[in-house]
């Protein structure tokens, strides 16, 4: 090994030594012969005969070690580069083709790598699972604190179970700013396996009511708001008019994944939960906490699930009215955090792999036509003694060089992937910040480049290595083996067309879905409506009347602004990613177990909300300023709610209890149109609107909606000022036109459509180049024949048909294969489609038509050139 390395790196010296030694050997042998009376010349000749010449021996010794293999490979590479530089046209086309395919693949792989493949930022993440209560309809539910305590004390499967709930504190450092935070049990970070970078973890004695209020900061928050103060630990910070003591700062490598709502921002601050069972919000039906557990070593997830189901069954038995007894569901944390993103990403990876295949086929085609021109070169080299293996190696080296150059060019766009993707709306992909070129992506790229180069080169290399020396050396005998070659090129075109068609159909289906989705009305009119969120904080807001008055005042000031048509506030707005469901118990239709009653989305609104949002009032009356805290309690319901709860009856005047059977009655006074709350692609569920003045605990976090006469941006700053004139200490966040929320809800689909559309276009363009190339080539080959036909009086139309037929036959075969492949593959897209079948006839037909039309054009161009052939020129060609 060492000797080999020495001869590689100190080549000159080793070679000189060998030469000296060999020359010494031969000289000694010659001297010996001269002693026996030979002349020097005779002696040297005799020695050469006996022992071989210096040159031959040197070659023999040099090629014996492994290093010579490395060296000839190096030679091959250098030779390949020289050859490629000699035909810059071919080389640049090949490199660009490869760069397209490899670049697209690298980009998508870097996305998959960053989002899915990189390990999650927890210790042993595969032992972490989410723990959900399962409701009777199979949906997953958060857990109440009392249930959590029972789970925690009774189970033997988990090392730890922790819970958290979301928290939006307002930090009063500089401008009041609202953050995304979590309230967590003291064992939360221990469960995840995260240690603070500075400071300490939460203590169990801090996790009780009325204990010291303590928080942990994310690394980024610590840097941004506290200038990385090394003495931050033990200091207090003021949030929501309360003092919190900082106990720790988390490491920069830890980024919370618990809040993936792009509208909510990353979690940056954590405080202890501080519950105890005596609190009213710690009840078993208070499903507002999310549980996460770390399985003990050796406990399988199914085992743990079985145990949790047993515990849950015992709890249902003990408290029959508080559970709807469907058990417990464990989801591995990976599925929870990355599951929704993984399917679209793998679909993209599959789609982009198709592009790579098309690239490969296209390059193979290019190489095949080049191969015809290189037959003589190969024949000459064979005649000079190159072995077949050596020629194959040389040709493959050329392809590898091409592949690597293509990869190098392709990496440039791939480097910008994350920014571009964020730009076209991948923001709801988790961990997008983790997407960059790392060693995994780079090795993927190099691997793909070499494989592509070699795969594309196999056919032409095979073809060339079988070149018949005698035929090829003879001038004028061209393309002797071209029947096989033509067939191969035809096959490549067929597969390119089939692959492109499949991608085009995929893109077509997504396009149809999106266009169908975009005409779905959200149930309100988002144009020219500005939304902004605020929450009240401070001692003075402990009085409910003050909160109600504050929002009433704010709405009044906003409505009075110039350029504002109307304004209102609501506890949540549709399509904003919120969820706030309350049990809906209808008089006379309640289940024995109230947990089995349905629930409805609750919007706590100020008068004017329907008008501002342009949600139609279908029956009855809207709520008004007269529905005060002391007036009879009234509510509006959505159309679906009415139809579901009172089929065939008039809901006006009916009574319901909300959130629990011990609460007072509310009377339905109006029915509104449904709004899409979750997304345009989800059917509207049950909804209800409650006057903010009447809800017993008036919401402190409200969203203002302001309808402007023109664009929402025009009134944005005036609206913020109006709110600050009432109370300058209140934070305003999420200042966004309502249209952005609607846009966000279709963003994921747009993202998939843009990417798959881009892939399909690339593949189509490459295929067209291929079709054009094949037709052009065959026209060139048949110039002579065409000349004869013209001379003999063939009509140009007939000739055109003849040439077109050949190309179009390939296209038709490709289309048939592509349609079959699409029928088999589009069902994987089903989850991304909306209101369109995976086998949608219209999409299939239009894509096939499009493809055939452009392919015909690609055939027609070179064929038309053949029509201009001058028979005299063509015949003289011989």
């Amino acid at each position: 090994m060492f000797g080999g390395l020495r001869s590689l790196f100190r080549k000159k010296r080793v070679e000189k030594e060998l030469d000296d030694e060999l020359r010494g050997f031969l000289d000694m042998a010659a001297e010996e012969k001269m002693k026996h009376g030979m002349s020097r010349k005779e002696a040297l000749r005799s020695v050469r005969l006996d022992h071989g010449s210096l040159e031959v021996s040197r070659e023999v010794v040099r090629t014996a070690g492994w290093e010579s293999f490395v060296e000839t490979c190096w030679q091959d590479l250098r030779f390949a580069v020289r050859i490629l530089r000699k035909s810059p046209g071919f080389t640049s086309v090949a490199i660009l083709t490869l760069a397209l395919g490899i670049g697209a693949n690298t980009a998508i792989f870097s996305l998959v790598n960053g989002v899915l493949l990189r390990p999650l930022p927890y210790r042993n993440p595969n032992r972490l699972t989410m723990v959900w209560e399962k409701s009777r309809d199979g949906s997953l539910e958060n857990v109440g604190y009392a249930t959590y305590l029972d789970w925690k004390s009774k189970n033997k499967s988990f090392e730890e179970i922790a819970i958290y709930s979301s928290w939006q504190p307002v930090l009063q450092v500089g401008e009041p700013e609202q953050f995304s935070g979590l309230r967590v049990t003291s064992n939360y970070f221990r469960t995840l396996g995260i240690h603070p970078e500075i400071g300490r973890d939460f203590l169990p004695e801090e996790d009780v009511p009325n204990a010291n209020k303590v928080v942990m900061l994310s690394h980024s928050l610590w840097q941004r708001k506290f200038n990385s103060d090394p003495n931050i630990i033990g200091k207090t910070i003021n949030m929501n008019a309360t003092q919190y003591m900082v106990t720790g700062v988390l490491p920069a490598t830890y980024q919370s994944l618990m809040n993936q709502d792009p509208r909510g921002g990353t979690v940056e601050i954590w405080r202890v939960l501080g519950y105890d069972v005596s609190q009213p919000w710690a009840c078993r039906t208070c499903h507002h906490l999310v549980a996460i557990g770390r399985l003990r070593d050796g406990v399988a997830i199914t085992q743990a699930n079985a145990e949790m189901n047993t515990i849950s069954a015992a709890l249902s038995k003990a408290y029959p009215k508080e559970y709807d007894d469907a058990g417990v569901v464990l989801t591995p944390i990976r599925d929870q955090l990355l599951g929704p993103a993984s399917e679209p990403l793998y679909i993209l990876l599959g789609a982009v792999f198709f592009v790579l295949l098309v690239t490969c086929a296209n390059l193979a085609n290019l190489l095949l036509s080049r191969a015809t021109n290189r037959e003589r070169e190969v024949a000459v080299r064979t005649a000079l003694g190159a072995t077949r293996g050596r020629i194959i190696r040389q040709l493959l080296a050329e392809n590898c060089v091409l592949g690597l150059l293509g990869a190098a060019v392709g990496l440039v766009p791939a480097y910008w992937t994350p920014k571009v993707l964020a730009g076209i709306g991948a923001a709801d992909l988790p961990r997008l910040d983790q997407v960059h070129l790392d060693w995994r992506v780079l090795s993927f790229t190099v691997g793909v480049a070499l494989l592509t180069g070699i795969a594309a080169g196999l056919a032409p290399v095979y073809r060339l290595s079988k070149t018949d020396m005698h035929d090829s050396l003879k001038e004028g005998l061209r393309g002797s083996g071209s029947v096989a070659s033509r067939r191969l090129r035809g096959l490549l075109i067929v597969s390119e067309v089939a692959l492109s068609l499949t991608l085009l159909i995929g893109a077509g289906l997504l396009l149809r879905s999106l266009s169908r989705l975009l005409v779905v009305s959200p149930g309100f009119d988002p144009t020219n409506v500005l939304s902004m969120q605020t929450s009240v904080l401070g001692q003075r807001f402990n009085d409910n009347a003050v909160v109600r008055q504050y929002f009433a005042d704010a709405v009044e000031r906003l409505s009075a602004l110039p350029g504002v048509q109307s304004a209102a506030a609501a506890s949540q707005i549709p399509l904003a990613g919120n969820m706030d469901k309350y049990g809906f118990h209808v008089e006379g239709k309640m289940h024995a177990n109230p947990e089995e009653d349905p629930s409805a989305e609750r919007y706590c609104i100020t008068p004017g909300f329907l008008e501002t949002m342009r949600i139609p009032l279908l029956r009855g009356r809207d709520i008004s300023a007269a529905d005060t805290a002391t007036a009879p309690q009234v509510l509006l319901i959505g159309e679906s709610t009415g139809r579901r709860m009172w089929p065939g009856e008039d809901p006006i005047g009916k009574r319901v209890k909300l959130g629990g059977v011990d609460n007072p009655w509310w009377t339905v006074v109006g029915v509104t149109g449904d709004v899409h709350h979750v997304g345009l692609d989800a059917d509207p569920d049950m909804q209800m609107y409650i006057p903010h003045q009447q809800w017993p605990f008036p919401d402190g976090l409200m969203v203002f909606v302001i309808r402007a006469a023109s664009t929402p941006a025009a009134i944005s700053s005036a609206a913020q000022q109006a709110i600050h004139t009432i109370d300058a200490t209140q934070p305003i966040s999420r200042i966004m036109p309502l249209e952005s929320y609607v846009g966000l809800s279709v963003q994921g689909r747009k993202f998939a459509l843009i990417l798959i559309g881009a892939f399909a276009t690339t593949a189509l363009a490459l295929s067209l180049v291929g079709i054009y190339g094949v037709t052009a080539y065959s026209v060139a080959q048949r110039t002579h024949e065409i000349g004869i036909r013209i001379a003999l009086g063939a009509q140009r139309g007939e000739l055109l048909g003849l040439l077109l037929r050949q190309g179009m036959l390939l296209v038709v075969c490709g289309v048939i294969a592509g349609v079959i492949a699409s029928l088999a593959l589009t069902r994987f897209l089903a989850s991304m489609l909306f209101d369109v079948q995976p086998t949608d006839l219209l999409t299939f037909a239009s894509v096939v038509l499009l493809l055939v039309a452009v392919s015909a054009a690609a055939c027609f161009l070179p064929a038309r050139r053949a029509m201009r052939v001058d028979p005299m020129v063509a015949l003289r060609y011989e």
Partner: protein, 110 residues
């Protein structure tokens, strides 16, 4: 007469070189002459094959080399056995003896 050592039983050349060097360190030509003499002209070696064998043995750590002056005051590379080479020679010699005896028995039996 076998022209290439490949015609020798595989691996025999290495063993013969080791045996030759066991007596004293020698340069390449010395080894060639010695082998030719000892075999009474049966093994006449190509310089190429001989030096490939040297390179192989050296990389296996069985021989080492040193530039020295010859008796005719010419500079030459002298090869010598290493301890490992000496051990290898012993085992190969034993192995060879066994094999030859076995082959002889088989040939005589028929």
């Amino acid at each position: 007469m076998p022209e290439k050592p490949g015609d020798l039983v595989q691996g025999t050349l290495d063993m013969l070189i080791l045996k030759t060097l066991a007596l004293q360190p020698m340069h390449g030509y010395g080894v060639a002459v010695r082998l030719e003499q000892m075999s009474k002209g049966v093994f006449r070696l190509n310089a190429g094959s001989l030096f490939v064998a040297f390179q192989r043995l050296q990389r296996a750590g069985l021989i080492k080399n040193e530039w020295k002056a010859t008796e005719n005051s010419r500079r030459a590379k002298y090869y010598a056995l290493t301890d490992q080479g000496r051990k290898r020679l012993n085992t190969e010699t034993r192995e060879w003896g066994k094999q030859v005896a076995a082959i002889a028995r088989i040939l005589e039996a028929s």
